[in-house]
């Protein structure tokens, strides 16, 4: 059990900066997910924690000890790889016990730990099989079992679910969460899938271009993204960004999108935004669920407008609708009963109580 501290860590491959000086504190027992697009430095960061990559600058501490110079085997970590990296010639039992056998653990202790881990993961009856005889999900469990038996200070997961099909991925996600609740080992988990990040994490670390964009609980990131990147990356379908200008007419702050559409800023936010008045390049960020069909009676902050639907996607309990504003395709989410049809106009409404305003130049949420 340990916390992990990352201090100003830099990773340079030849002349390419993969990680540009990141700071991160991971608490004991915490489940932290590093998420971001490919090439954002999340896997490099994980591999530096594991000791598979050396650290160009800065330091990493596990359980209070700086481990920059410690080889992987002495860091007391366990890692689950994307392709599981099970030893193909060993049985499940041998796979799980390999590390312990190399460390010359007594036989009883090895068997006790393997049985315990197998029980937690529900793979007791697979112990004598070879990896080839296992399904994807079972291999995934064995890979986790191999990590658990070592009882390490930190679990490291490198995109462990991306080789599974969609259905199994959801199942294993729940499984991983259950295991973490049982063993409570500090976990660093890397994924490019924001849904995985949201569902698994105590805290999510969003990375982009080798820097950390934002760290926070899933709900924090969802409701209070700090940058345009986070706002766009978290949530599916992604948040809409509508270019507009802030105008004031008659003491009322409004966001002018085009000649037809202008959204009045709700009074609660007006003060916050008034200092950006005249800023010609701001983006109005609205999630699809805040662009719905217009209701019959008006509510404060909810502004109706006309939309010409291009495409509709009925999902069953909801329908996604796509319509253009200023040439960009905007996604909204309406009730299946709202009568949305391909190519038909629909009265839509924007919920500005949940709007985000982003400076297009700096990418920061205002």
């Amino acid at each position: 059990m340990a916390e992990v501290h990352i201090r100003k860590v830099v990773k340079k491959y030849d002349e390419v900066l993969a990680v540009r000086g990141i700071d991160l504190d991971i608490r004991d027992h915490e489940f932290v997910v590093l998420v971001g697009p490919s090439g954002c430095g999340k896997t490099t960061t994980l591999r530096m924690i594991a000791g598979l990559e050396d650290i160009t600058d800065g330091e990493i501490a596990i359980g209070g000890d700086v481990v920059n110079d410690v080889p992987p085997k002495d860091r007391d970590i366990a890692m689950v790889f994307q392709n599981y990296a099970l030893y193909p010639h060993m049985s499940v039992h041998e796979n799980m016990s390999f590390g312990l056998r190399l460390k010359k653990f007594p036989k009883d202790e090895i068997n006790r730990r393997v049985d315990e881990a197998a029980r937690i993961l529900d793979i007791t009856e697979l112990l004598d099989r070879k990896p080839k005889q296992l399904s994807g999900g079972q291999r995934q469990r064995v890979a986790m079992g191999r990590a658990i038996v070592r009882n390490p200070k930190v679990f490291l997961f490198d995109e462990p679910l991306s080789n599974l099909d969609a259905k199994l991925r959801v199942q294993m996600r729940i499984e991983i969460k259950k295991v973490h609740q049982k063993v409570r080992t500090t976990t660093v988990y890397v994924t490019h899938d924001q849904v995985e990040a949201m569902t698994l994490a105590d805290r999510v670390v969003v990375m982009n271009h080798g820097v950390i964009e934002q760290v926070g609980t899933p709900t924090e990131l969802y409701h209070h993204p700090r940058t345009r990147f986070v706002a766009g990356f978290i949530g599916s379908p992604a948040m809409n960004f509508i270019p507009c200008t802030i105008q004031e007419s008659g003491g009322q702050l409004a966001l002018r999108v085009n000649d037809q559409i202008s959204f009045p800023v709700p009074p609660a936010r007006a003060q916050k935004y008034s200092q950006h008045k005249g800023n010609g390049s701001v983006l109005l960020g609205l999630r699809p669920e805040h662009l719905t069909e217009a209701k019959s009676q008006p509510e404060p902050g909810i502004v109706p407008f006309d939309a010409n639907l291009e495409v509709t996607e009925p999902m069953g309990m909801e329908t996604f609708v796509y319509f253009p504003i200023n040439g960009d395709t905007i996604c909204g989410r309406v009730n299946p009963t709202a009568g949305a049809k391909d190519g038909a106009p629909l009265k839509m409404a924007a919920d500005l109580n949940n709007m985000h305003l982003i400076d297009a130049k700096t990418g920061l949420v205002l």
């Binding site: 920059n68 110079d69 080889p71």
Partner: protein, 310 residues
Amino acid sequence: MVDATIKNEGSVMRADRRNSLQKAWQRKSTIAFLMTLPLILLILVLVIYPALYAVHLAMLNKSMQRFVGLSNFSFLFTRETFWMVVWQSCIFALTAVFFKAIIGFFVAHFVHNIPDKGQRKWRGMLLIPWVIPPAMSTLAWLWLFDPSYSAFNWILEHFGIAGIPWLGDEHWARFCVILVNVWIGAPFFMIMYLASLKSVPEQLYEAAKIDGANWWQTMRFVTLPMMRNIIMITALFSTIVTFANFDIVRVLTRGDPLDQTHVFATWAFRLGIEGGDIPLGASVSLFMVPILTIGAIFILRDIVKRGNEA
């Protein structure tokens, strides 16, 4: 190779305070170096050194006491047999490789054509010439070509055709060494081409079929381009090996009749080992180097290219 560790030490000093991990990296290169040391020694002592030593030897006189510069070579240039050997080696290698490639290509297609479950059996039989040690199978050919008891001639005479002096006539003897070489080498081509045929995705053929390609177009635009690499590299490999061939000529004709079937390797053996003129033998064998170098350059270029694509 000592540089390996020194270079790494240099980088250790540049870095400020990493010790044990860097030491581990450094130890890694030391271990790696030790693991490859036998290989390096083997290549240096038993391949590179003898190759260079051959150049030195080629510049000595027969008793190897005097440095004579290039006079061994200029002596060779005046010998008619030498030019005959050059000519024969090239004809031998090029003709043999050409027919090996053609036969290999067609037989690979025939095997590929028949149902999958029978292919293994046929492939197994067709590769047998390659598996038998060449010196042993050439003995069988020698017996088949025997001047008095040739089993081929028995068949010919059975049809009223006069027996052929297989190894007695220079033209027939040349034909025979090429035939035996093709017989041994064609199965190897067949296996290589079959492997490359199998690696062409079935969808490509289906796509070509849907696009309305006829047999020739499918061959021209799908099969051949996909096989091109293997066709080239197998032919190059084989050219090198055939050019340097020793066993077949040595066992079948020993260079006879009248040295007419000698290739570089057998003539170098005759002069250097049997004739006791090591410098002259070395000079002869060195004439293989240009062709080998050209082949090696092409193969290496292909490997580097594929390495970059990967």
